[in-house]
């Protein structure tokens, strides 16, 4: 068993793509992973004080500072996936989604916008879980940017109250990226909250600074995948459109029992066909 684990590590460190053949063997492997995560938690003691300052200066994944991870109960409560989650079906769904998106970007890291058609459509949930699913791979990290100025939700993934966020960064010219990136309770998952300047935030999305910011976070680590949680496409089509332009592709979330056909069509039009990676149906 241990040998198997070693093998997985080897493959990962070789920079090869995700091993995503989900079969019995893999599930066993994941169970082992969980054990390792636990070990890691002990081996890498969380430094909340470090995180308060917000930034991180490590250059590789291994050097990334981590906060103490959420317990499984916390993760369950937050509806977040983790290795060994009892709901294997859900885990498989997200792993499958992760694989599909990786295929679409041909293995490179990407900026993916997750938007729902209407408010409460579950875009934030899917964005968070997609990020979590990417972060499950030890060779990859994910960065979840909260672009939903109207109903920010990523703060819940943070163990601490965020001081600054994306809008602060865009507002203040002198702000540094490091100031707004927070470590979450999930290993290898970083979070950028909305920030304190939400009223004017939308206008900054179309600025060059925003584009530069996205490019910099994307290009900084080749194994970092950026997920943007966007406001609902039907209600805030302007923001969605701008954010979609900044992204490599868009995942549209269609919630159960909330939208009509015409709303879906309108949402698709707001995003544009070339950007659309696909539609996720959220029950």
């Amino acid at each position: 068993m241990f040998g198997n684990k070693e093998k997985l590590r080897e493959v990962s460190s070789n920079g090869v793509e995700f091993v995503e053949k989900v079969d019995e063997k893999d599930i066993d492997a994941e169970k082992d992973d969980e054990a390792i995560v636990d070990i890691n938690r002990e081996v890498t003691p969380g430094d909340r004080h470090d995180n308060k300052s917000g930034g991180y200066r490590a250059d590789g994944i291994d050097q990334m500072s981590e906060v103490s991870a959420f317990s499984t109960e916390e993760l369950d409560r937050l509806k977040l996936l983790y290795q060994g989650v009892p709901n294997r079906k859900l885990l498989n769904v997200f792993r499958d989604l992760r694989t599909k998106l990786a295929k679409k970007s041909k293995g490179k890291n990407y900026v993916c916008l997750v938007t729902s058609l209407v408010a409460g459509g579950g875009a934030s949930y899917i964005a968070a879980n997609l990020s979590a699913a990417i972060a499950m791979d030890r060779t990859k990290t994910s960065l979840l940017i909260d672009g939903n100025l109207y109903a920010p939700s990523v703060e819940r993934l943070l163990a601490v109250e965020p001081v600054n966020g994306l809008t602060d960064y865009l507002y203040r010219e002198d702000a540094q990226v490091e100031e707004i990136v927070y470590a979450s309770g999930i290993p290898r998952l970083r979070v950028i909250p909305v920030g304190n300047n939400r009223e004017a935030g939308a206008e900054y999305f179309s600025t060059g600074r925003m584009r530069k910011f996205i490019d910099s976070v994307k290009s900084r680590y080749p194994d970092r995948f950026i997920i943007i949680d966007s406001p609902p496409a039907c209600e805030y089509s302007a923001e969605t459109h701008i954010l979609a332009d900044l992204s490599d592709f868009v995942v549209l979330v269609v919630p159960y029992g909330k939208v009509t056909e015409s709303q879906i069509t309108a949402g698709l039009e707001a995003i544009g066909e070339d950007r659309l990676a696909g539609v996720v149906y959220n029950n």
Binding site: R77, V93, T260, E261, A277, V279, Y281
Partner: protein, 505 residues
């Protein structure tokens, strides 16, 4: 829609049911209890019926044929309805049933009568059976009302029939009497007229006139004859002068001579000429011959005397004949006159008869008509008498109770238990049905296939519904609460239904 689709559909429906569990529970409770309360307030209808046999095929009918008028059965339904629903009978019914003045004011009585009218149904069963059905809200009321109605109806119909036929008989009897007196009067008048007018008939007069005319004709002819005779006799008497009395004497002698000659010839056949008789006759003959010669001499000398003329018997004969003829003429003329007078009288009589004829005809007509009507009336009276006797003896149309009314033990139509069951089922089914309808009609997307159809490409992922441990706990609590509430509601429902059933509510 194949099985898999159906499963998906059912799953969606269940999901929606869970999502709307509280409103479903409440609407189920509202619907169920609403139906239950409708059932409680639903008027219970009891119905009972009785069947009459309207019998007119009695033993007497063939005997009577057309003599007595027997009512037709076809009219019976109408008759029964009219009689049963008549205010007279209904008021009697009410008097009979509601002895304690339950409906004492006229308005209340009218209302009750209307109710009875509305709830009574009369129909024809087969040829002779009449079914009377009555429905109401209380079994006692229904049973008593129908019994009273049928009882009074049968009694009333028999009574009214009796009275009716009796009255009819009396009426016709009176008419008969009246006509009889009229007939007597007419007869009397005719008799009086006939006794007052002895002229006889027109025919009699005609015959009489014809006879009289014949007589007159005959008389006229015979009168003509008599006149001719008188004329010729007169002529002959005028020629009397040219004839002498001698010639007349000689002629008489010659006759005598011839007689004597004949006598002598006959004597000679028996006797000889010497016989004294023959000699005597011969002497007489000579005398006679001598007399003749003397007479002829007198005649030729013309010495005639008046005494000789008057004694001519021929002219005397003629004169007597003339006298006879004159008498005859006279009497004939007298007869003609009297006959002509008679004829005049007959003509007058005929005129009188013609004048009286119109009057007679009128009298006769009166008599005939009266007589005819009288006879007809007599016949009718006999019919009426028979009908009356029939009805008096109960042999006319009679209503016999074939099927007596039964006390209604179970109410008719929708019963409380039906409402209880319907309420329960509807309470469960209606909200679920509405949810199913909602899922079908609501344009919002609930099925993966719908999304795929719209975007025309496969979905990236279908995220199942996640349940956090907390929400699972909440769900469990919810489920428990729902089950408890549902059980409590069902218990309350059954409790209300049961207490109504046993009569507490």
């Amino acid at each position: 829609m194949d099985f898999a689709d159906l499963v998906v559909f059912i799953r969606v429906v269940l999901k929606e049911i869970w999502a709307h569990k509280v409103s479903i529970l409440f609407s189920a409770a509202i619907i169920g209890f609403a139906v239950l309360f409708i059932g409680i307030s639903w008027p219970v209808t009891y119905e009972t019926s009785t069947t009459f046999y309207a019998d007119n095929q009695n033993i007497l009918k063939p005997l009577l044929d057309k003599q007595a008028a027997v009512s037709k059965v076809e009219d019976q339904v109408r008759i029964v309805r009219d009689v049963m629903l008549s205010p007279r009978l209904l008021s009697q019914v009410m008097e009979k049933i509601y002895v304690n003045d339950e409906y004492k004011t006229p308005v209340e009585q009218e209302r009750r009568a209307k109710e009875i009218r509305e709830n009574l149904d009369i129909s024809m069963l087969g040829k002779n059976y009449i079914k009377v059905t009555y429905s109401g809200h209380s079994p006692d009321g229904v049973y008593d009302t129908l019994n009273a109605l049928t009882d009074l109806f049968i009694r009333d119909s028999a009574e009214s029939k009796r009275t009716e036929s009796k009255e009819a008989y009396q009426f016709i009897d009176n008419q008969v009497k009246q006509y009889k007196s009229q007939l007597v009067v007419a007869e009397e008048r005719l008799k009086k007229f006939q006794s007052a007018n002895l002229d006889g008939s027109d025919v009699d007069v005609g015959e009489r006139i014809a006879t009289l005319r014949d007589t007159i004709e005959n008389l006229k002819v015979s009168l003509g004859e008599v006149r001719t005779r008188i004329q010729s006799l007169n002529q002959q008497l005028q020629e009397e002068n040219s004839f002498s009395a001698k010639k007349f004497k000689a002629d008489v002698y010659r006759e005598r001579l011839a007689e004597l000659l004949a006598k002598r010839d006959s004597l000679l056949l028996t006797f000889k000429e010497s016989h004294p008789d023959v000699v005597s006759v011969g002497l007489q003959i000579q005398d006679m011959q001598n007399a003749i010669r003397e007479a002829e001499k007198e005649h030729t000398s013309g010495a005639a005397t008046s005494g000789e003329t008057t004694v001519n018997p021929l002219y005397q004969e003629l004169r007597s004949k003339l006298a006879d003829a004159k008498v005859e003429l006279y009497t004939g003329q007298r007869r003609l006159l009297s006959t002509e007078k008679l004829l005049e009288q007959e003509y007058a009589r005929r005129k009188r008869i013609a004048e009286r004829e119109a009057e007679l005809l009128e009298l006769k007509r009166d008599y005939d008509v009266t007589k005819k009507i009288y006879e007809e009336m007599l016949e009718r009276r006999e019919k009426a008498r028979l009908s009356m006797t029939l009805n008096l003896e109960g042999q006319g149309i009679t209503y016999k109770i074939q099927e007596p009314s039964q006390y209604p033990l179970a109410p008719k139509g929708l019963r409380f238990i039906h409402f209880v069951i319907v309420g329960l089922l509807l309470g469960i089914a209606a909200p679920i049905g509405i949810i199913v309808l909602y899922v079908i009609i609501d344009p919002r997307i609930r099925f993966v296939s719908q999304v795929e159809n719209i975007i025309s490409m496969p979905l990236l992922a279908v995220v199942p519904h996640t349940i956090t441990p907390i929400s699972k706990r909440i769900m469990k609590v919810d489920m428990l609460l729902i089950i408890m509430l549902g059980t409590a509601l069902v218990a309350a429902y059954v409790g209300v239904a049961y207490s109504h059933y046993v009569g507490i509510i």
